[in-house]
Amino acid sequence: MKVGVVTFPGSNCDYDAYALVRHVMQENVEFLWHKSTDLKNCELIILPGGFSYGDYLRSGAIARFSPIMESVIKFANSGGLLLGICNGFQMLTECGLLPGALIRNDSIRFRSHNVYLKVEETNSAFTNAYGSEAVIKLPIAHGDGNYYSIGEELRQLEDDGRVLFRYCDREGNLTKESNPNGSVNNIAGIVNMERNVLGMMPHPERAGEKILGSVDGLKVFESVKAALLTLTTAGKA
């Protein structure tokens, strides 16, 4: 597979994503500069974590208008696989590819530690390699990760099975204590209606090697690889 990682001014997890795809998975990966509009035929685009534009105004609000975002939005709207991690998730809600918003953590603290997540849905290009209802460990590092959505919009997210990850305790229980930021319904990651765009606050790209404390994030990328293979095979058939 060929992966593109967009670098914005202030991105700081772009190299983590690059290293995981290149050195752990031995797959093709390219950096894409935010001022470019060329996605270089990548099959998965990653909007990485960090503090694009210093988080000025609102997290992700300014990056969302970078030149490359027009190509990224077009790519996603035509079915391309798009993964927004942390600051990337914030960009996805800001540009409307995903519903809701990410507001200040309810503790007002920047939270940087490992969390447990329950994989709620394996029916997606991003989670098909996980076991059903698996409990995984990934790091978080954010100040604005409190997922906000209400009413019909939230009901639809839940009814459509578009919540892929929820914060939980080690045993997989969805508790208030295991929710690091106050997110509604312990939501940590969601997909769009077409299920080709995933936004998540935890960092799977920083959990792909034993030395980093967890390899549980690798399966997000292995899922994408499997999904792309299926697509290619289906296309040739």
Binding site: R58, E94, A101, Y148, I150
Partner: protein
Amino acid sequence: MTGTLKKATVYVKLKDGVLDPEGKTIQKALSQMGYAEFLSVRTGRFFELEIEANGSDIDSRIDEVCSKLLANPVIENYIVEKK
């Protein structure tokens, strides 16, 4: 020819019902300081804009700027004050 210079102030605030942890913390601090009658604090921010106005669509231009960038309509409201 350049247009006339107009000024506007835009106030952006979280919608009612959206959690404002900063406001809540400030309220708690006030209460501890002996100002217990200040029951609620909601925070926000404002923007002072200077606009070179050439056409008559200045109001809709300001509106666009507010809803596209200055405020996130999912969680925030805004008020425009023209001078």
